[in-house]
Amino acid sequence: MNGVQKRLLPWIITLGFFVLWQIVCVVFRIDVFILPAPTAVIQSLYTFFGPIMANAAQTLFTTLLGFAIAVGFGLLLGLIVGASRTIYDGLYPVMVGFNSIPKVAVVPVLVIWFGIGTIPAVVTAFVISFFPIVVNVATGLATIEPEMQDVMRVLGARKWQIMVKIGVPRSMPYFFASLKVAITLAFIGSVIAETVAANSGIGYLMMAASSRFDVPLVFAGLLVIAVMGIVMYELFAVLERRITFWATRAHDIVS
């Protein structure tokens, strides 16, 4: 496959997906209340363009804010957990337990604490997305080759020097891989919170639309979330390739 074909492939497959969706809706005459055809969704997107964009901006804001806190907190905790075997062993069960809690169940608690609005969405985006960052950064630090540690120790390197010179750069590929996962999770978190406890945002818009049985608008909301997710994912994929090119070199050789 040459370069141009490779670049076109995702677009062709996405387009094919919508064409198939359209065909299914038309051929089986599916009711618009059950599954609106892409044309109906786009129609709705056009009609409600202003409100959709305003709410999308709100969702993007809460998601990115929650995500940014998750990155800072996750990176810090990951470095601490990865640097010490004792902290790793001690903290891991708590973190796994915390991560196992369905975040939807946390939203009502957040409403009690913070009321309805932006804060529960930000906090939900944060709590849902920090875990993969912590685990990945900690893994990158904890898996430094023993030989490499020996090389450093016989130079008289202190623990923090080994961490700074080897641990941190070494965990960067893990960190960027986790960002791609975390940003999509952050969208899930903020939209969940918006559907339960908000008066703006795409989640709120979808709930409002479904209560009016405006199913095409619900799907328009889903589409906008998906597009935002793809754009953010791609952004971090590009950053990853730029910054930790040395870890993804295998792909360059293949292509």
């Binding site: 020996d150 090389v151 120790r153 130079l155």
Partner: protein, 268 residues
Amino acid sequence: MSKHSSLPFIDIRGADLAYGGASADGLLALSDVSLKIGKGEFVAVVGPSGCGKSSLLKLVSGLHPPLKGQVWVAGETVTGPLKICGMAFQNATLLPWRTALSNVLLPLEIVEPHAQRFRRNRAEYLTLARDLLASVGLAGFENKYPWQLSGGMQQRNSLCRALIHSPELLLLDEPFGALDPFTREELWDVVQALWLKRRPTVILVTHDLREAIYLADTVYVFSQRPGRVLSRTEIRLPRPRTLADTYKTEFTDMTHALREQIATVHRP
């Protein structure tokens, strides 16, 4: 080859080394090892696999304390990791995010007094590193990443990193084990040339008897686990040694003699 000073640079007396502590299930890797290594001496350690050769390096470098016995290096008892060592392993362990040049500079960012002077005297250190890379045949590869270098080049790069801070003690743990025979023999010459020029004390752990004889002043044969010193052979061949020397009877006889000893060890 007995021009080393009378006081040994490394002095190991009756050392045991065990992994997993002194408990019954602890694995005894070295048993009652005693040996003396003079300053600037090139020592090779051979023996069957799993005989604790690498453990000897951990013992000398202070990375692992002895269970029993004592280790002196440069007149002082070893109590923790030494700070005068350069190390190279079978795996080159280069940092993939650093270029060849930058990998060589790593020790200078750690070892005093270089670390303090590093920022201000960067140009001077860069020249030093470039010269060293050139001396092992890596001129023009300074800005390549490890994954852009062949196995032999990575190992040359790794040797440079072990030597850049002019360590008094160089520990080589099967550094050529993963290379093809031609590259390996090329690197023997590289190591010999570097050693002749700088004269660090070297302990080379190897499986290759020809390599041991080619490079070393003294070859120690170790027994199977737990490792003990079985024999000490002085290699009195003149230097610099060449590949042609390795086909002379004197050389092959020594190889056979050592081979014989290892075979005896292997017999139950």
